[in-house]
Structures are given as structure tokens and as C-alpha cells.
Amino acid sequence: MYSDKVMDHFSNPRNVGEIENADGIGMVGNAKCGDIMKMFIKVEKNVITDVKFKTFGCGAAIATSSMSTEMVKGKTIEEAMALTNKAVAEALDGLPTQKIHCSMLAEEAIHAAIEDYKKKQQQGD
């Protein structure tokens, strides 16, 4: 059902954990639908220098969390905002159609963390 890439990211997820004093935190999904993702980002000079996640969810949810953190690490805020769930799914060599729902959350979680970062920036000014 899952590609080798998905299984790789599911069984050895990259960037699991939390960042203390994160510059942005995004949490999306809910326990009712079965998937929750929480993303933590560290930003320096408009570049995402570190990113970590925690996910409650299926294999696709965990694998897309892992892959999306890899894809935004070292990227500028603008580049990271341009991340789409389609790109994440492609990087994982595709996902079963009934799992597209779960893969949307990765994009949403990254975006939510960035929005949180921007909000904090404005408040800080």
C-alpha cells in the first residue's frame, strides 16, 4: 500500500521532537478525525534553521510530517510557505488516494507554524 519512501519516513522519522523556545508553533487537525500534527520552527534571518514535529496519526501522517520537515529545513520563510501537500506526496513517491487527507495536514502544520512566527514577530516589534 505504501511506497518504500513512505515506509522509510514512517519507520525512521526525521526531526521528531520539540524545540524549546521555538520561534513558531503550529498545531492542526484534531483527535476526532484521527490525525494531529504539531510543528516547531526556529528562524534566523528569515531562514528556518531548525524544525521538529510531533504527530498523532497514521503512517501517512507520520511520513508526511517527517518529509515536510526535511523539505523546509534551511529554506526561507517564503520558500517554506510555498510548500504544498502535493509536493510532499510526490517527494514520498506518492500516497494512496484515501491518505491524501492525512497528507494535507503537513502543509497546514508548516504554514500554521510560520503564521505563528509572523504573529510573534509583529508582537515583538
Binding site: Y2, M7, F10, S11, P13, V16, M27, A31, K32, C33, G34, D35, I36, M37, K38, K54, T55, F56, G57, C58, G59, A60, A61, I62, Q98, K99, H101, C102
Partner: protein, 385 residues
């Protein structure tokens, strides 16, 4: 890797004895059971022997046994057939909220066709009572359909008591005994059922083969129209190899039942005790005692079922879950919601189903690897306290 199969409620491997019995009927005894020449007569004889074997196993008469293409067909036939044949008397059906989809979706279909269906709620253990059934009966009620044992949480329903209620009200009573066969004694007379569904592949028989018991005198419309097979009630050239395999599977499954059930439930209890002891925040779903000997269903808090299944699979262990992401829908299992579990706890369900081929080492291997799997996933969980 040594593969450990603990998903016997989903399906089972065909037993070697069953396969041996089936093989001649693919090519040696290829005749059509309706033909008059020798190979046809031989097929006919095998068919009627199979019918007698299945009948004897459940306390029925041979002419009350009808071979179908599996549990789903048997459920569909019993429910639609009885509904359509008896709609002149009334259009109300009683069932439960925790039936298999073969029953639930058939009832929902009938609702669209103008029938009214009562879905009885169950208690926290998944039990419905005869009193609930009694209270739901109206003069319009023509059919009660309630499973003997639930496939997800293993809860046994009080079929005998419900049978008494059905008889008192002269209402047809169907029971889906797909999971009960070979696990608990099934006796159609003692249970007071008019119709009963079975499936071969859950008891080491072939897939795509099943049985509907139809008590003599019960009126049901055919589901499959055509030739005069199965006394004109279920058309189609008989799947003889499947039928012979079904009969042998039924015979083996009901042989030494008590001994096998005792052995299987001891393994189940070892698994339940071990999981509860070694993993915090776990609950057993289903009834503590009134449950299938081979069923252990847990909810593991703070994590989701599919992740556990995938990691168990990597460790060579096959199990199942009622989480949304394994069912391919957005909602977790209707059975787990019906026993009152909140969504997030229903998503973390894990079902192991044991057979008489399971050994203690299999259970101990699960107990060895599961705590680590749960820890890994909990370390990743944003809702873990």
C-alpha cells in the same frame, strides 16, 4: 522472519485437511450436480453429504442448509429476502448498532426502499438485552437480526433470550454467526433462530463460500434468481469444491470445540493480562467474560492504530485496528463509537484474534515487542501528557 498471524477474525488459512477434501472437486469430480450421468451423480452425492455435515454441526435438518458465496451473501439474502417476502405483514426491522456492515448496509438499503429500521444501542461492553428487543417490537415488526458474536470486540449477545422474545412475538429472527461458528456452540433450535449466517473462510475454510440456515417454513425471496439449484431458492451451479471445503471446515471447527476454546481463551487471557500489565493507559474493549475465546481488543491511549499495525507488521506480527485511517473513512469503527469510546480513543484500537493454530510463543512475542512500539509512537505523540 517468523510470521505471527493474529488476525484470524479477518480471515484464516485453509486447513490442510480441508484443502485435501476440496482438491478432487476441481478436476476429477467436475460434474454438474444437476446432471444425471456418473460424474454429475458423484457431485450431487458430495453436495448432499456436505449439507448433512453442516446441518449436524448446528442442530439443523439437511434441507434447511443453503450454500452461498459467503457471510455477506447469507446476511443479504436473509435480511432482504425476509423483508421482501414479509412486507405484506409489516415493514419494521430490529437490529443493533454494532452489526457487521453486511447487515448494517443491507438495513440501510432497505430503509431507502421504505422499511423502518431500529438500531438498538449497546452498553459499554457491546451487549444488547432481550428486554431492549422486546421493547422495540411493534405490530409492524417482521424481522429481528442480531449477531451472535461481534467481529471487532468479540462480545457475545444473548441470542437464546432474544430468540425467546422473537418466538413469543412470532417475529422472524436472523443471527449472523460468522464469528461464533467454531468459537462457541451453535445450536439453531436452542437459540430459536429462523435464519443463521456462516462463512467458511473464518474457520479455516475457503473464501467466497458460506451457508445460510433457513428453518423449514420460513419465507424468504431469493436473492439470486435463475436455475433450480438449492431447492429453487439460490440459483447458480454449485461451487462444489467450496461447498465440500465449507463442510469439512465446519466439521473440524465444531469438533472438540470446548477443548479448543479453552486453549484459545487461555492464550487470550495471557495476552490481555500481559498488555494491561506492561502498557499504561490501555483499556480492554468488549465484555470481560462474555467474549469470543480468541478476541482481544484494546484501546491504546495517545496513539493511533495504523501506526501500531505498521510497526507490528515490521516485527512480523499481523493484527488489525478500528482506526479511521485503517478503515479508509474519516470515522473510527462504528462498534467502538457505539460502546461509547471518544473518537481519539477509538482511533487507537488494536485487535488481536487468536486461532487454534496460535501458540504461546506467538503471544509472548507480542508482549515482548508491543510495549516498545507503543513507547516509540507515544514519544512522537503531541497529545501524550
Amino acid at each position: 522472519m517468523n510470521r505471527i498471524y493474529l488476525d484470524n477474525a479477518a480471515t484464516t488459512p485453509v486447513a490442510a485437511e480441508v484443502l485435501q477434501k476440496m482438491l478432487p472437486y476441481f478436476s476429477d469430480v467436475y460434474g454438474n450436480a444437476s446432471s444425471i450421468y456418473a460424474t454429475g451423480r458423484e457431485a450431487r452425492k458430495a453436495l448432499e453429504n456436505a449439507r448433512a455435515t453442516v446441518a449436524a454441526a448446528i442442530g439443523a435438518k439437511p434441507n434447511e442448509i443453503y450454500f452461498t458465496a459467503g457471510g455477506s451473501e447469507s446476511d443479504n439474502w436473509a435480511i432482504k429476502g425476509a423483508a421482501y417476502a414479509n412486507s405484506g405483514k409489516g415493514k419494521h426491522i430490529i437490529t443493533t448498532a454494532i452489526e457487521h456492515h453486511a447487515v448494517l448496509n443491507t438495513c440501510q438499503y432497505l430503509e431507502k426502499k421504505g422499511f423502518a429500521v431500529t438500531y438498538l444501542p449497546v452498553d459499554e461492553f457491546g451487549r444488547v438485552t432481550a428486554e431492549q428487543v422486546q421493547a422495540a417490537i411493534t405490530p409492524e415488526t417482521i424481522l429481528i437480526t442480531i449477531m451472535a458474536a461481534n467481529n471487532e470486540i468479540g462480545t457475545l449477545e444473548p441470542i437464546e433470550e432474544i430468540g425467546r422474545v422473537a418466538r413469543n412475538h412470532k417475529t422472524l429472527f436472523h443471527s449472523d454467526a460468522v464469528q461464533a461458528m467454531g468459537a462457541i456452540p451453535v445450536d439453531v433450535v436452542k437459540w430459536g433462530v429462523d435464519m443463521l449466517s456462516m462463512s467458511a473462510h473464518k474457520i479455516h475454510g475457503p473464501k467466497g463460500a458460506g451457508v445460510l440456515y433457513l428453518k423449514n417454513g420460513v419465507r424468504v425471496d431469493p436473492l439470486i434468481h435463475g436455475g433450480a439449484q438449492e431447492r429453487g431458492r439460490r440459483a447458480g451451479t454449485e461451487n462444489l469444491a467450496g461447498i465440500v471445503g465449507t463442510a469439512e471446515a465446519v466439521r473440524l471447527a465444531t469438533k472438540d470445540l470446548q477443548e479448543k476454546a479453552a486453549k484459545i481463551s487461555a492464550l487470550r487471557d495471557r495476552l490481555i493480562a500481559g498488555v494491561i500489565k506492561t502498557i499504561p493507559d490501555v483499556r480492554l474493549n468488549g465484555h470481560p467474560t462474555e467474549r469470543l475465546p480468541g478476541n482481544a481488543n484494546f484501546s491504546v491511549k495517545f496513539i493511533e492504530g495504523e501506526g501500531m499495525l505498521l510497526r507490528l507488521d515490521m516485527a512480523g506480527i499481523a493484527a488489525s485496528s478500528g482506526s479511521a485511517c485503517t478503515s479508509g473513512s474519516l470515522d473510527p469503527s462504528h462498534v467502538l463509537l457505539a460502546i461509547g469510546l471518544p473518537h481519539e480513543i477509538a482511533h487507537g484500537s488494536l485487535r488481536f484474534s487468536i486461532s487454534d493454530k496460535t501458540v504461546q510463543e506467538d503471544i509472548d512475542e507480542v508482549l515482548r515487542v508491543l510495549p516498545g512500539i507503543v513507547n516509540t509512537l507515544r514519544d512522537m505523540s503531541p497529545i501524550m501528557a
